[in-house]
Symmetry: C2
Subunit: 145 residues, 2 copies
DNA sequence: TATTGTTATACTCTATAACTATA
DNA sequence: TATAGTTATAGAGTATAACAATA
């Protein structure tokens, strides 16, 4: 109908399509989308359970399960936090790093067909517009405005 | 690193952010994201189970469960397909239509902060770029290229 | 008292395999 | 034989509530 709802529709459609591609790539590597995301976040970070849960918009008990399963597969490790005796740090194992590095190019390749319809100039435009959006508060998981 | 991977990162980030917003809106209305999507798809369509599953990239047995739960909540209905004695059509109940119509504006409102950082001209550009992407094959659920 | 994380529990989502009914 | 859908089963993802340990 309105311009605004056309834009919303396009954004939602694009997001579902992108998620479907990511889900497939993750599944091809025996990972759920959430597991894949956890590993990707930990690629260059060591974070506490609570921070990870907050970033993902999940409950801490959910985080426990996700980390349990990934730990059982030797993809990540837990260690007590140095500063806070209650907290637990999570970080990738060498196998986890290897997996993330191996899968990353698959993501780019899988999304390439979608992006191929855009000229380099248009791709540049699109990146800028999305970056501008992401620099704004989004009413995401944490902010229940 | 590369321009291409910057673009991929922006697309992935944008999609996760959008999904988080949609998940929250759905949850506020006692729906999972998948249930919400099913209802939205059926807003102006009557489709067979198999077609719905294919569109969502899910197994037919998964579809059975989703439709079972939504049917139990009186949000949609099943009816035998006229042409094919094996097939089952699915469509929204009046309550389902009411729900979808009620939730839709919430989606626009929830995504508005994200879009507010863009001028009308930029919003127009973004819509066009995303529409162009969506008109391309995306290596989505069905096409395992 | 408040926070961090786990455990117990329950429900949804999802897939695979086996089945029934129809084509 | 092949297709449409359901059922049975199993596992992952998710939340809520109760709990132990630490702050």
């Amino acid at each position: 109908m309105t311009d605004r709802s056309d834009l919303v529709d396009a954004l939602v459609q694009t997001s579902f399509t992108t998620m479907a591609v990511l889900t497939r790539v993750a599944a091809d590597n025996d990972l759920s989308l959430t597991q894949f995301r956890v590993l990707a976040i930990l690629r260059d970070r060591r974070v506490r359970m609570t921070d990870l849960a907050a970033y993902l918009g999940l409950e801490k008990s959910t985080m426990t399960g996700l980390v349990d399963r990934a730990e059982k597969r030797r993809l990540l490790l837990r260690a007590p936090n140095e500063q806070d005796g209650r907290a637990v740090d999570v970080f990738l194992s060498p196998e986890g790093v290897e997996l993330v590095d191996r899968v990353r190019p698959h993501v780019e390749r899988a999304l390439a067909p979608m992006l191929a319809g855009l000229s380099p100039a248009h791709q540049h435009q699109l990146r800028d517009l999305m970056a501008r959006m992401l620099s704004r508060p989004a009413g995401g998981p944490a902010s229940t405005g």
